[in-house]
Each structure stands twice: as structure tokens, then as C-alpha cells.
Symmetry: C2
Subunit: 537 residues, 2 copies
Amino acid sequence: MTSPGNTWRGFEFRQGDVIGMYKVKKISIDAGEHTVILSEKDAKDLGVRSLDRVRVFTKERTVTAIVETSKEMIVEGEAGLLCATYDAVCPNGEKEVDILPAERPESVDIIKKKLEGSILTPGEIRTLVKDMVNHNLSDIELTAYVVANQVKPMNLDEITELTKAMVETGDTIEFDKRPLFDFHSIGGAPGNKITMLVVPIVAAAGLYIPKTCSRAISSAGGTADIFEVLCNVNQPKEKIKSITETVGGVIVWGGSVNMAPADDIIIRVEYPLSIDPYSQVIASVMAKKKAVGADYFLLDIPTGPNTKVPDMKLARSYAHDFIEVGRRLGMKVEAAITYGGQPIGRYIGPAAEAKEALMVLEGKGDRSTSVLEKATAMAGLILEMGGVAHGNGKQMARDSVSSGKALGKLREIIAAQGGNPDVKSEDVPMGHLKMDIVSQTDGYVTAINNKYIVKIVRAAGAPKDKGAGMVLEKKRGHKVEKGEVLFSVFSDNQRKLDMAKVVARRFDPMTVEGIVLEHIPGNSRGVEIINVEYQQD
Amino acid sequence: MTSPGNTWRGFEFRQGDVIGMYKVKKISIDAGEHTVILSEKDAKDLGVRSLDRVRVFTKERTVTAIVETSKEMIVEGEAGLLCATYDAVCPNGEKEVDILPAERPESVDIIKKKLEGSILTPGEIRTLVKDMVNHNLSDIELTAYVVANQVKPMNLDEITELTKAMVETGDTIEFDKRPLFDFHSIGGAPGNKITMLVVPIVAAAGLYIPKTCSRAISSAGGTADIFEVLCNVNQPKEKIKSITETVGGVIVWGGSVNMAPADDIIIRVEYPLSIDPYSQVIASVMAKKKAVGADYFLLDIPTGPNTKVPDMKLARSYAHDFIEVGRRLGMKVEAAITYGGQPIGRYIGPAAEAKEALMVLEGKGDRSTSVLEKATAMAGLILEMGGVAHGNGKQMARDSVSSGKALGKLREIIAAQGGNPDVKSEDVPMGHLKMDIVSQTDGYVTAINNKYIVKIVRAAGAPKDKGAGMVLEKKRGHKVEKGEVLFSVFSDNQRKLDMAKVVARRFDPMTVEGIVLEHIPGNSRGVEIINVEYQQD
């Protein structure tokens, strides 16, 4: 049993209260929170135990850190400082620090308040986000926050304040040209390379679209991983601004600038639990859009089995709440609920997706109609929002692709980001080893499991190995004969390809059924599709 | 954003799938969960990131561990194993291990199920507790469990299964003599040294009471810390059994035997958040009682402001649910709701409480009537449960004290546990430095804040420094004149005494009010008291 309260809570030690000096030992481990390792004896003498807080300080600097204890590595009189803590306290290689018990940050009480179901005040939300960004919260406390947000979701007032606080605690980019457009897909649908089409179509129409995107966490490849196959996605703030203002668009990795850094800190604990609290999804996405100063923002919500948004009820709720939070932040948001129950297009994996995006822009996308359909639908909506299209946005977007304007603009962006502007889809190499998976039976493809597809592509080496990927030969509703290839897996590493094979055998991603009990062609697969006229490849 | 699912989830690697061998580097840090530190490059090559799971194995052994990454301390090809992980994988000093990505334990899904409000099955609860005890859950996952239990409390079926699982995953003691009696106080009331009276009174009446107790986590002293002043509270299972069966009772530290070890693992994450989920409190206490095989168990529920149980509604709910879980486990449980809104007796701190307990047993407790009243009321209830008293339990307990029988039995216990049986209350030394806190005004003591009392005594050095403590000269309802001593603080260390002074100044623990607006003498302080006729000291 624990008793409530921390002995030292609320008791401010003064810097002058020096109990003893500790020799600094740098411990090269990366941890989420500031951490100091003490010998068991020193910890006892300080009256602290594992996971208590102490202030670690020199004359110039002070940091609040979590205590861990060690029996051997750290001897009496030593303070083991983990990387980030060392850098924060001893930037000039200071050799000694002092340590005193410290109180828990106020944020712990704020998190407990949320757990009890209370509405947090704007001030409390700011305190919480500041403590996150300053690495003042332990994994345990961050987990309690994430779980609280999951079981007692924030209301729209709180989400709005959370978004603002996440923006304020990070970098922002100030553009001279306006208005700015932005686009984001909620994750979950593999092969969703459409950003590589949406951005050039929008920019080619004379609008500004500074698109920051993410790397894969548990997908087969984020847009940043994909576009990196063609050019440098790590661009500093100044380049993001200058390229956007001259070329019209960029596609860069958001991590190269420090926008809404609280998101990464929260993701660290969300990831192991695979939880993604509703209110946090909205705040994290909106904070990144607000940090670049987007005036208009289109949100794509892929919906369907094995995506992040399994049903229309949740999709509509997201759409509504994103739009409302946008309104409160002075941002015009529109949302498109799209079908995400199977991969978009046929190519999955970093190089594979870059290749397919180029193919479609080059007019070679006969077997990738869903990519063209989705990308032009999305881009069309942005063109309407920007007032350059009036009811004919999608057609305008299609024209941009068929005329080669979009491809030309993408090449300008590639050039501006240090890539080869003359790159062609056939130049993009996929893994040189290939494995075909063939059907064991005649029938129809009745289901494709997104998560299993991702498992296989990751086993083949994605997203780290750019060439690791998959090409689907069949998609939902297609007729298959026994012995026909269902999909091929590519890799540069025989061992990884073998692993992908084991995974594919265990997690069969494609269901082929001899008798199709209910086959409804087109897009009516039990999930309503809004705004997007969707066709099968 | 995270996507759901772990790439490797559900994919079983075979032991033969050797990717590469890693040189073992032992890292002497104690962490709650099995942990391996890898170089960033090796982690990437394995396709794992910080907080993912891997299997670390030799030919003989395998352990699932959490990954952390290091830039410098660990080089490519090295595996940094934290203490417990090293001991588990390399007990014979093995120099090399192999590492493969591993799936998350099933418990993560079980915890998420609980978070969604589902009722867990007995099998799920067993899996969960086993994973805890085997150090298979990270702090993040354990926190999610604790928070889930806090916001979606387990029902009585689940609590019963949790209790059983906690018992089964630890040691138990089999006694030859029966029936066995046990006693426990829910924490929160400082100065609650009554176990030192209850156990000898019960044992002196011919009943068996093998009392395992805890050390302070955030209190000024647990019963183990207190009794340790007089003898050795670390006793192996065999001694607990033999002393109980010959002398009638023991008072030992529960941590010296491995009973219900899941409790310590859960406490690790409860402590930093100061949360104590209702259902976990019941399971943790009941598991420790079941592990010693108690047939009859009396629970003391101190209730009042600044205790763990602030109101009667919660106290009654605890009483009811403890009794019901006991019934399902075949244990006869009774509960006493007692007033805990101010300290029990006048002495607080390890040596101070041992001293006061002896004083009362020696008949020198004129100023410690609440200790005698509470202890004899509790012991009397146990005597009734045991059938040796029939409506006169409390009087029988009083007689045991006044006749010296209880003191004689305590001395037998002290002797059996290796202490000096001739010890007298005046022999127990408190800190040689003393500080008196005097009243600044005339009036009545209208409130004593338990938490502030504990803060001061801990600042003075308790529970580590046995002599650190406090003696209350005034308690609630007492008349005070300006300049009179309210309480004294003892310590062996001037600096710590100075600290206690700073804390006492900041967190004034005693409210003296000139005009008593409502003064109800005796025990009717807005909190109903059941079973205990309670008198002020």
C-alpha cells in the first residue's frame, strides 16, 4: 500500500541548502525523462527512493530529474546523469553537481484531476504541456495522462487549449505569403502515397502548401520515408519557407523542425500501449497545422476495418470536431471520409510508393486508379477551398495530372529539396529479390487485411530498407485463378525476404473465397463514402 | 500518431532464427522491468525501437525484455543487460546472448480490455499477474493497469480472482496449528502502533497470530520499522511458523518472505502517482492474509480527514467488500471503522512508537489512552472472533494489559525474534536533539493535519533514522495557552532537525483557534465511529 502525498511536496529547498557534492558520471542511455542514478546509500541519505524526484544543480543550472538507484555502477558520491540530463545540467562539462529532494511537478495533480473526470483549465493544460516538453514527467506520469485522455476524453475547449499549448511550446514558421493550405491523412491505410500528388497539384494551381509529414512508427512507410527516396526531406525552417514561397510547395519531415514537440513525447508512451486517445489525435494534428500557420486544412479520414477509424460514427465525429477546433483556432478545416479498408493503389513500401506516385503522374497509372482518384479528389477539394476551382476541383486536378503540370511541379519540388528532377518511375529501384505469393484456389478476393500487409512489408525490411515493399496483383473483388500471383514481396536481403514469407504464411493478408456470397461491385462495401468517388484499381 | 499493432505481435521466432550474437555488458541499474540496452544501429537492424520488446536468450535461457537505446555506452554488437535481466539470462556469467524481436505479452491486450471497462476472466487475471511477477510488463504497461483499475474498478469476482492469482504467484506458509488469526490497519493515521499491543494480547489468550507487516513507504514508520527498534523483523518462513506455533505470535516484515510479490511491483507505479485503486487495496491486503493462511482476519479502517479513507461511505464500502472477498476465499473477516482524523496516541516515529507501545503495556500510558482504547478494542474483537471471549473481549484485552500478561507475551516474542526481552520503555532512545514548537496564541486545538505531521517527522529523518520522531503535547480539543508546547520534534542530526523546523513552519500541523465555534467533546467529530469506543488522550 502507498500512502498519498510526497514528503517533500511543496517544500522548497533553497539553492544554498547544500547537503553534499556529487561527482558527475555521464551514462549514455536515452530515456524519456530526466534521470539521475544514485547509489542506494546516497538515495537513502537523501531520503528518496526509486522514481522520486530530485533537483540536480550546479551554480548556473538546475533540472528536476527522476531517481533510479544502482548497486554497483554508481558508487557513493557519484551522480549518474543520463544523456539528456547531462546535456541540460552540465553543458560545459561540469564535473560536480549537487542534489536535493524535489517536489513532484504540479502536473501530477493535474493528471489526477483529469483521471477523476474533471475539466482542466487553460492554465492547467499549459502547465501540463510545459512539463512534458521540459522532460519533467516520467513515463509513469505520461502514461497516466494518456490513459486519462483515453478514458475521460477532453472536451472541445480542452482540446483547443491543448492544441494552443502544444504550438506555443515548439517552433513555428512565419510565412510572408498567404493564404497557406495544408493536408493530412489520419493513418491506417497502407499505400497512401497520395500526398506526393496532392501537393504538386495544389502548388501547380498557384496555392501555397508547406506540407510537413511524419515517418513511419508502425506503418510500412510515412510520407517522409517515401519522399526521401527521391530527395532530402530534412529541411530547416528557412528552406521550408523559401521553397514554399518560390515553388509553391514542399514535402518535408516534420521532425526536422521542432514543431509541437509534445507530440513526440506523448507518442513514446502511446506506442507501447497502442492507444491513440481521440482528443490527443485532434490536438496533435491541429498543433502541427497551426505551427506552420495553415489557413485552410483538408483532413483525410481513411475509414474501414483495420484502419485507425473503423466505423463511420467515429469518422463523422472526428470530422466534426476537427472542423470545430479549426474554427476556434481561426483555421478553415474540411474533412473527407475515404474508404481505407484495403491499401490505396498497389504499391506499398518507401521506394514502391514513390514509384507508383511517379507512375500515376507520368500517366502510367492504369493499374493504380485508386491513387489517381483519391489524390485528385483530395486536391480538388483544396482547389475549391482556395477559390481557384468552383465545383470543378476534381476535374481541374485531373487535368493537372494529365497535362503533366503536376509532374512538372513535383520535379520543381524535388529539385528544390536537392533531388534529381529528371527522375522517372522506372528509375526508382525496388529490392532486387522478389517473392511471389500465388493463390491456392479459384475464387474472388473478398478481403485484404491492412495490418497483415504492413506486417509483411515490415518483415521485408521497410521502412528502413527503402527497397523493401509489396506489389498487389489483385485487390478486393478481383477474380483469381488457382496459381495466379496475388502479390509480390521485394527485399534486398534474402533473410528478411524469408522472414516476410514466414509472416505471410502465418498472417494470410488476402482472403480468396470460391463462392462470393455477396459481391457488390464499386465502392459500396458496407462503408459509406463521402466526398470521394472511389474506384477499385 | 501511432498505428495500432506491433509488427512482431503474434509472430513467433524460433530459437534457431539466429540473426547475430551480442556481447553481454552488465549494467548495474535496477529497473522495474527486464531491460536490454542496444546501440541505435543494432536496434534499427533488428527493426525495434525504444520500448519495443525483444527476446534475449542463450541456449539454456530466454527472457523477454524492453529495449532502450544508447548512443555511446553500448557499441554495435553489445547488449547492455540491467541487473535483474543479467541475473535471469546469464546466471553462470554467460558472455554472449542472442536477441530477436518479440511480441508484446498478452497482458497488454488484457489491460486495454480493462481500460475499456470489460470484466476480466479468471484466466486473463492470472496471465496479467504472472506477467507482472515475471517482470514482463514495463512501467508504462503497469501504469495503464493501475490507472485502469482506478477508473474502471474491478468487481468482486475479479478482486477475488486477483487475490488468488497474487497468492499463487508467491510464497505461502503452511502452519500445523489452527485456526490462525490476523490483523491489518489500512494506512493513513500516524502513530498507529497498536499492532504491538494487539498481537501479544491475542497470543496471550492462546490464539495464533502470525502478523506480517510492512515498512513505511510514505508514512513516518510502518509496524516493521517500529518493531525493528526492539528486535529482528526479518525472519524466514520457517521461523515465522515455529515462533507462531510455540509463542503464539510474531511481528515480522512481510518483505522477508516472498508473499504476494505482485504487490511490490504494483506499488512501484502507484507510488509516484499517489493512487491506490480501491480494488487493488482489497486484493493486495487479502492476498497477504491468504498467503499465511489466516482463518480469521480483523481489518481496521482508520477514517477521517487526511487518511486513506476520508469518509464513512468509502469506509463502509471497504468493510463490506473485504468481508465478502474473505467469504469467497474461506476466510472470516470483520472490519472496524475507527477514527483516524488525528494521530493515534502521542508518539510518532519508529523509536517513539515502540516506546509508547511499551509504556502502555507497562501501565505508564496515562497520556496515551487512545492507544490503549484502540488496541484493546481491536484485540477484543479478535478474542470474540476466536471464541475465547463472549461479549467481554475488550475487557479481557484490558485485563491482559493491566495484569502484565500482554507485556510478558510481547517480551516472549521479542526474545524469539532475537531482541532483549527485558527492554523497558525508558530504554528506548529517541533522537538526542529536541525542538519544541510552542503555541503563538491562547485557544483550543481544533485540528491536527496527519499529512503535515508525517512531513515533519520524515524531515527529521524517519523512518530511516529510528530516533527521529515527534511527541504531541496537545491533541484535538485540548486547551492551549500562548507559549505552551504543542509538540516536540526529536532527531540525531541538527541539519535534519533544522529541516523539520522549516517544514513545521511551512506546514503548520496544529490549528489553535481562539474561539471554538463548535466544540463537541469525545468522539463525535462528524465522523461516526463503529465498534470502537474511542477516547481522546
